[in-house]
Subunit: 147 residues, 6 copies
């Protein structure tokens, strides 16, 4: 759904939580097929039995793609992505884990090159069903100023 | 293929280039279905006709997932990912573009917390068939020291 | 396989049963990705634990698409679909259920607007491995009269 | 997103429009693979060249599944689906068509068996980029009364 | 559909032709993702422009899997596959080609080890829309003898 | 990765082993959807409970496609496939089995028609986690002679 918001409409500390999604073995297989990364960490249950995890672990790129995808319920036509910072994977995601994403407005800054825009820093946290953070990053986007 | 490399084996300036992959309309549809992000920028050809791009553009998360996936031909069992920095999307990816990834060892540093590991900074560039960079980031990983 | 049949070849009470198909977690994930419907009823195992069902339930549109798909083993080149009536989902479909479809010719009528065709009403029932009906509807199609 | 609405909150004539989605060759192939319906009408471009349509046409079950899927942006936790009526496919959907769905509240009735619920009749229309209706049906659901 | 046939029911020279299927770019991408074979011959349009084919060519394993899949409309519960012989790919399959399969009973032999079965040799030919053979092999299966 | 090798570089007895891959229920569903083969042997868990296998078994074409796909980590630009011989499936593949492929150079012969090429016979064995061979065949390819 469209939700137009100017830079001035954002407030530091504002939080948005997505609905949850169970990460399935299907998602592992689809992601390997989509990206071409068939490393045994994600695809070989026998190999992973003797690893520190005891089982297959999700691709980091999948946790990122699905974690960000979960937030794609609101379109702000007045903003566009500048980039992502400090992308980390503090805990692995296993088959059967249920994740959701929490977004917190963490910073509102001038953009040095584009005076008609402001820079929004949104803290992204993907959490599993035990409340553990499995992905953290900052999403930086630029939102139009009111005028 | 496994290619075990210690921290001492990496050399600043070392370059690796992947093979290419044409990004298809199928990839757009698969990525939307995989992540749940059906924003019209990626999925609505009519809507995008009147945009600045004139056509659908790839999800940033797809360029990242496939761009990194292209590099998944060598496993270093002595290393693991720490994270990604400064992820940017300087140019859009369109249906029919052919991308490949270039990796350059850009930094070799001590890791403050793990003396038995060294920190490798690998510059990641995803380029299209016109030689334009469509994604840039730094991949940081930790590689075991020889001992 | 082609099986040409004129309107006069249909007999009220005629029954056709399809082979069975186990509905997998993969089907749930594929259907969500195909349609864009990632509602937690279908995708969030944690959320559904406390629901009346205790687990994820299939999309109604999937039960319909696969239930009808199971019947796609015979093409009658002399007939075409007019529509579906009274589509109902009396019981949920769970991951691991095995469904098949039963078709019964329930009515043969004149078509008010097309004298060279007759209207066939086919009762559609999708059943699970416990013999419970999980989908019911009437499929209406028009078949050419002999001459 | 959750949007709880009691039966009393619905108003006859209320309209909701979804965003658009371009139906791709990929969707045809995915739907055939998902349902097992590989009829030449959907899968054989050579066969369809000489048909009245001149090209492959979408599965009706796909237009239904995607057309309904497009509306899955709002969850009303106080309502559940009763069924669908008068499902029709007035025009074919071709590869490259862009569809969206329009929902109109068309009727608000008592439910004979469940006094604590009311019956909402929602007219569903799926339209292509030329404004032609490609699917029509009524979606009947039951919404809790305020009490 | 089930079609039980004893060894004695097969006749040398008997022919079966499947319906056709257009091989799409989607099939190329799905097959790469399913098998993990992302060789540039199948996935890199730029690389293939300067090849003898001028464009991407299908995986041989895909032509085999889909060519055999097209024949899966009749199940003989009295027979099982022994193997395949002389699998060849005389011509490439390109995106947009429409293929079908032709099966000819070419040999009926005793099975040295299983007196209650006979060995059926079925010539398999997959042809494109220009009538060219793109895959040839012999399918050997064992069918129960009548008595 | 490219690894150019002339006919003279091959040595009888040379062995290559791939990494492993767990065959999932997802792979069964994807393969059925990719090929159109929805036979109950692969798709109907209820039906297979009473079979000699007690559960669903993989499509032979899938074991072939994935077994060969696992070897697609080295491209020899000086060679091309001639065909496959004696393709057999000595044991079934079940959901959850982990397979890998072993390649052994078994023969090096002149090619009667192409003096500038030699014929390489590579024995292909796909094995499961119990060391049982689930697929065997010979892959024949032609490699350029040094000149």
């Amino acid at each position: 759904m469209e939700r137009p918001r100017h830079f001035e409409d954002y407030v530091v500390g504002e939080v948005r939580k997505t609905s949850g999604r169970t990460i399935t073995e299907t998602d592992f297989v689809v992601h390997a097929g989509h990206t071409g990364d068939f490393f045994p960490h994600h695809m070989d249950a026998e190999f992973m039995k003797s690893s520190e995890f005891g089982q297959r672990i999700a691709h980091g790129t999948m946790t990122f793609a699905i974690g960000i995808g979960l937030t794609a319920t609101q379109i702000n036509p007045l903003a566009f992505t500048y980039g992502y910072e400090r992308l980390r994977f503090p805990k692995p995601v296993f088959i059967g884990d249920t994740i959701h994403t929490e977004l917190t407005i963490a910073g509102l800054d001038d953009d040095p090159k584009r005076p008609q825009y402001g820079r929004v820093t949104e803290e992204v946290r993907v959490l599993n069903q035990r409340g553990e953070t499995v992905l953290a990053c900052d999403h930086i986007y630029l939102a139009q100023r009111r005028g």
